[in-house]
Amino acid sequence: MSAATTTAPSPSEAPPLRPRGPFRRSLNRRYVITAYLFLLPAFAFFGLMFYLPIGNVIANSFNTGPQADVYAGLENYRRALDDSAVHNSFTVTVVFGAATTIGAIVLGLGLAMVLNQRLRGRVVFRAMLLVPYLTSVAIIGLLWRNILDPQLGILNRVLSDLGLPTQTWLNTHPLATIIAVTLWMNVGYTMVLFLAGLQGIPEEFYEAATVDGAGPWQRFWRITLPLLTPTTLFVSVMAVISGLQAFGQAYIITGGGPADRTDLYIFHVFNVAFTSRDFGYASALSFLLFLVIVLFTVVQLRLGRRGEVQY
């Protein structure tokens, strides 16, 4: 007894209690049930608000008619491949998505680099740049629509007062204009993300590189950019998704015009659904975009992860 007592391990060394047999199974079941009960609201929310609608859209995409209740097989998908309006809106959207993604990365990183310096008032600048992102796209759209109005807008008034020629921005360069407005709106957010990434890079790397004779450009290309790869990947994935799903800019600012030059894909889908009342076709177009977004995201993640480095 005493020997047993003396050789017994101290409580800290004792192996963890592992219930065995039926008791263990019962405990596991209780853990599992409890876990699922906690997860149930999330499952219910996502199931009801995301997966059920997605399933419904996929089912609808094989139907036609004003109520989307007439089976049409693959006709909607065949039609999409032959629809010049869809091709146009897809092209417009890809250009829009690419420009807003590249612009968001370049401008966001540039601003983050500037505002990562010890400048007076940098906190105020950071906050000011973030304000447009916190504002509704509807308000941004109306604001810029009024600013850009060729006859009564303030921008042309300023140009005119300066003796410069006035412009009809929304007629001559409509897509570039809504790209610029989108960048103005979103760049503050990407700046904040890059700022967080920059502040996560240890100062010692720069000091070591400087000691080794690296200049500012070399430090940027060899240290900053590679170590920001995860941030850049996140920004690019999010920007591509939001670019391909953009809607408000066309709906509020240009109405898709002039002559479909800003007919963003989702705006086109919206019109197919709610103007032409062709919900089956709109569902097929939506599902095709879903596949495109999944494809873009997978490719980006694969390419991005290949470029990740660690020092």
Partner: protein, 419 residues
């Protein structure tokens, strides 16, 4: 995800199949507590209607839930509700929806109500005849015209007087006037970015949107091309009008006229109140529509209809009767300058003694419901609101030759009609 959301609204499961409220007085939805849900245009919330609503609520013991939207949002909401089987009790529509929803079985036939109460309310005898056909389908009435409007030439009288320009009556006169009025930061004319404002020109050139016999669009084609090119030339060749800005707002020309930056615009009575409010000193004239081959303009205006699955159709019908009464029409005209469909309204001193209202009312004689034939094909949404919109903007904003743009439009529209 967002892309998947819009069409899903169409498919909200569980739309009841057998709760269609049919029948006239004595049918379902007789009132006695609850709500009467009404979808209304946000710009038509007149005090004259508030008075009707208050009386209606008191008499029936119900609450009228007036939900006000801009047209595009109203349509989006309505289609979602129709798909989910939970539509409002009454809808104000922007023109053309009644027949659209009648053909799809979403609108309730009002024929039994009309048979029972028509004589008492003066329907259809006291309504402008054109407003009956545009709200009927297969011989039955599905909607009642609420407002009746048309597009006329509004002008700044002081500007025309200062330039010694007579009010134009033909296209040639008009171009001459616009040319003489242009200068010093003022345009002689301002085109609207909205495609529907292009139609007075096409109608004046004798163009039909759709010929149901031949199945052709924009006939005669050369006349349609001429009318569209004339509008583009005002902007790009003669430079007597600014290039319209694309968008969804149709108040651009009104703002230019109010600001003294345009001397003439084409618009309807809905712009009278904004002009009066923003520029009370502007000496505004309303001229009859121009003539080229014929004198013509666009007939517009809103109607009200009851969705087939409305929960309170009887109450909704009673609301229609009250809100279309002659006294209410006159009060709305005096309040907001809106024009009305009753013949007795057009003859009333309220209208006849007002130069502007009278000018619009005279236009009813030659105003045309230009989309009626196209609407009955069930393809009006895609052809008129998408393809024609592209055509108009391509010609007037992008300065694409009208002949090229019309060819593209007709090719695409035929595909839609044949589908």
């Amino acid at each position: 995800m967002a892309g998947l959301a819009a069409p899903w609204l169409s498919s909200c499961a569980g739309a009841p199949e057998d709760d269609a409220s049919t029948g006239a007085s004595g049918g379902s939805g007789g009132g006695g507590g609850g709500d009467l849900t009404v979808y209304w245009n946000a710009g038509h919330a007149y005090a004259a209607y508030d008075k009707v609503i208050a009386e209606f609520q008191e008499e029936h013991g119900v609450t009228v839930n007036m939900q006000k939207y801009q047209w595009d949002d109203l349509r989006t909401r309505l289609l979602s509700d129709l798909a989910s089987g939970n539509p409002p009790d009454l809808v104000e529509e922007s023109g053309g929806w009644v027949q659209e929803f009648a053909t799809t079985g979403d609108a309730l036939s009002l024929q039994e109500y009309v048979d029972a109460d028509g004589e008492e309310m003066g329907f259809p005898e006291d309504w402008q005849p054109k407003t009956i056909s545009r709200n009927s389908y297969e011989g039955e009435v599905y909607g009642i015209q609420l407002h009746l409007t048309c597009t006329m030439l509004l002008y700044n009288r002081a500007m025309l007087d200062a330039a010694g320009v007579e009010v134009p009556t033909t296209w040639d006169d008009f171009l001459d006037a616009a040319t003489r009025l242009t200068g010093d930061g003022v345009y002689g004319f301002a085109l609207n970015q909205d495609r529907s404002y292009s139609w007075p020109w096409l109608l004046q050139n004798g163009v039909r949107y759709y010929d149901p016999d031949g199945g052709d669009l924009l006939v005669p084609r050369d006349k349609a091309i001429e009318a569209l090119q004339f509008q583009a030339d005002l902007v790009h060749r003669h430079q007597v009008a600014p290039v319209p800005t694309p968008g969804t707002d149709y108040s651009g020309p009104q703002k230019l006229l109010s600001a003294g930056r345009a001397a003439m615009i084409l618009t309807g009575p809905w712009d009278l109140a904004p002009i009066q409010q923003t520029s009370p000193d502007l000496n505004l004239g309303v001229a009859p529509a121009l003539a080229n081959d014929v004198q013509a303009t666009v007939q517009a205006g809103t109607s009200v209809f009851i969705p087939r699955k409305a929960k309170n159709p009887d109450l909704a019908w009673d609301f229609i009767k009250r809100i279309t009464a002659l006294d209410v029409e006159k009060a709305a005209t005096e309040e907001a300058g809106m024009l009305m469909p009753r013949l007795s309204w057009a003859e009333d001193p309220v209208v006849q003694e007002n130069e502007r209202y009278a000018a619009f009312a005279e236009g009813f004689a030659y105003a045309v419901d230009y989309t009626e034939d196209l609407r009955l094909t069930g393809k009006s949404g895609e052809i008129n609101e998408q393809l024609y919109n592209t055509l108009y903007q391509d010609v007037v904003m992008n300065n694409t030759p009208a002949e090229t743009a019309v060819d593209t439009f007709v090719t695409e529209a035929r595909k839609v009609l044949d589908a």
